[in-house]
Amino acid sequence: MKKWIRWQGLIAFVVVVCSVVVLWLFFLDGFVKRMVEQVGTSLAGAEVDLVAADVKLFPLGITLNGLQVTNPEEPALNSLECARIAFSLDSLNLLRRKVIVNEMAAEGVKFGTKRARPGRVPKPPEKKPGEKSSSLSLSFSMPDAKKILETEQLESPKLIEAASADLARGQDQWQKRMNELPDRTAIDAYKARIQKIKQSKKSGIAGLSGELGEVRTLTRDLEQELERLKKSRAAFSGDLSSAQKLIADMQESPMKDVRRLRDKYGISTTGLQNMSQALFGDSIGSWVRTSLLWYNRLQPVFQSTGEKKGDKQVVKPLRGRGVDVRFKESRPLPDFLITRTAVSAELDAGRLAGTIRNITPEQQVLGSPLTFSFSGEKLKTARALELDGSLNHVAPSKTEDTARFALQGYRAKDLALSGSKNLPITLQDGQLDLDLQTQKTGQALTGKLVVKVRDARLNAGSGNASGPLESAIRNSLSKVSQFTLTADLAGTPEKYDVKITSDLDRVLKDGVGRVVQEQSDRLEKELKAAVIAKTGKQLADLQKNYSGLLSMSSKFDDTQNQLNGLMKETTASSGAGKFNLRR
């Protein structure tokens, strides 16, 4: 036995283990600090810094000092800063690889603080291509007519040119057909034939019969000429009325271009129906985007990534290789749980204190949802502030997250309502009541925000745009003393729609409508002048072609009158008038 056992090995083992433990303890604080920074950075999507971490073994607890989370959208700012986070760990459960924190305290939480240096953002947040800026739909300056015509293609010049070519072609065709009608030579020939009949002194039945035959032949020829003339004239009349209609259409076509461009570049009074959407849509849309961004980032905190395999659950560990298979526990506990977190945050309005319960990615194991409840204490600028809600993922297939934020009697000062560069709107002063309720059931997202402002003093600032429209908006807003703004959110986290309504719409429509109409009329007038200048000569040419066609009408009259005169002369002068010469 002695050959196989060396007891001094036990001493060596103790020495090795103790050395490892001492080294581990020596580097533990630094290890925890680096781990918090690394895991925090991957969760937040932006640099997370920690001044110091302090690990105590008896009782086992960790204190984190000076936590800073960079705002990924503005790296020069912290989205969150926390002076101190302290918690104690359940040692026995830690041996079972379960991180159970019964009580955690987060003190001195601040939002939007400045950083000493800009934080690193590994992957800057992207603006979804489907999202459009609502303020773009509201152009504050009427564009110049000349500039519009430099970029826009007019339809009327092409139409007039085509119509002019049609008329010219028609005129040519009718000119050819006119040449086929009896001309002066033909009329003279008919006159000569009549003269010949008049001069003939035939007597007797045979003579009279021959004369009658000649009269009949002449009459038939004249009748045929008249018939051909009538048919041509009818066709000509049809073409002439078509040409008249074409001329009327072409004279209207420049105005059609003018109206189209006015509607495209001008502001219609009907567009003023929902100006609050255009003015505040971007700001509220940005708040919704930021909220959803953080909701998605915090999902690993309350949503498990495990998959079921029969009765057992296979959970991918954050670190290490392989997978951990979980079996039914006699006293089920999640791998990570913070039962209660007391948070104290410093806001501009005052102090916000509250608790978050049941922070765990495995709510289905715990059987309870994450809940949070905060209220304002010793508020400087508001009468009351409340924030509460729950993230219920107990049944992963039937999740329901709700949040409610109520702020009453908030004394707003220089609060940016619209960040538009053209027309930034600030609530310089006012009493504000805000009620926000949001709910996400499965993938269906709904929300309603109601903001009531009293004793308001609005300022539309000095943005990039300065024209009569902006002046009218500024003027209208300066007279507003109270208003209500409602935003309805509906859709999914990926595709949502924010509909904003406000009684400001009516005020703005009344105040701005007249200016918009004037601006629209001015633009129309300028466009009309510019388009007419481009099409005037073409229209004159068109009119000239039409006049040429119209002049042919008199030639028809002349020819018809001459033929009718010849017909009368034929029947009267031959002395055969007493005979019925009609066949």
């Binding site: 060396r6 007891w7 083992f13 026995l92 057992k312 290789r321 951990d324 079996f327 039914k328």
Partner: protein
């Protein structure tokens, strides 16, 4: 690399009991196949220090088998998952899962379970095989190796200097 080869030759050519070298290789395989930070490895280390075996062979073997384990991890994970999800063993695993002592061992990790099962399965065969091979080597090859041309070249090279250096170490089974 030279040092490792020199160490291996030193171990094989030493007077140490082949059984102690074989046992060290078997424990090395167990250590190498388990995840490095597995608590089971601490128990293996305790046994290695407590049981008289060749420490040099253990350290060499651990490095070697850890490299093999890196390649075999997917296989270990499959074996581990099959064992941990086998219906007949569910009662055993559930009982162990509810015990803190076993939970510390992280037996429910597929790679840890697969590596451990593989190591245990091949522990005795490797012990017997290495024992037999070392005996055969010493009986038939050792004198030939010492006289071989290759060994002469090695002895004249830098490698021999390393060999000489480690020959002076107080390792072995002691």
């Amino acid at each position: 690399m030279l040092t490792m080869l020199a160490k291996l030759l030193k171990v094989l050519n030493s007077e140490a009991d082949p059984a102690q070298i074989g046992l060290a290789f078997s424990f090395a395989m167990l250590s190498g196949f388990l995840p490095f930070f597995s608590p089971l490895n601490a128990i293996v280390l305790l046994l290695v220090l407590l049981i008289r075996m060749n420490l040099s062979a253990y350290l060499l073997g651990t490095g070697f088998f850890a490299g093999i384990a890196y390649l075999l991890d997917p296989l270990f994970s499959r074996i581990g998952l099959a064992l941990l999800t086998a219906a007949p063993l569910e009662g055993l695993w559930t009982a162990m899962y509810n015990s803190t002592i076993w939970r510390i061992q992280r037996f429910n990790n597929t790679v840890a379970m697969g590596g451990f099962a593989f190591g245990v399965l091949f522990f005795v065969p490797l012990f017997l095989l290495s024992n037999a091979l070392i005996r055969q080597y010493r009986e038939r090859l050792l004198s030939w190796v010492r006289k071989s041309r290759l060994m002469q070249i090695i002895m004249a090279s830098k490698f021999y200097g390393v060999y000489e250096k480690v020959s002076g170490w107080t390792g072995g089974a002691a």
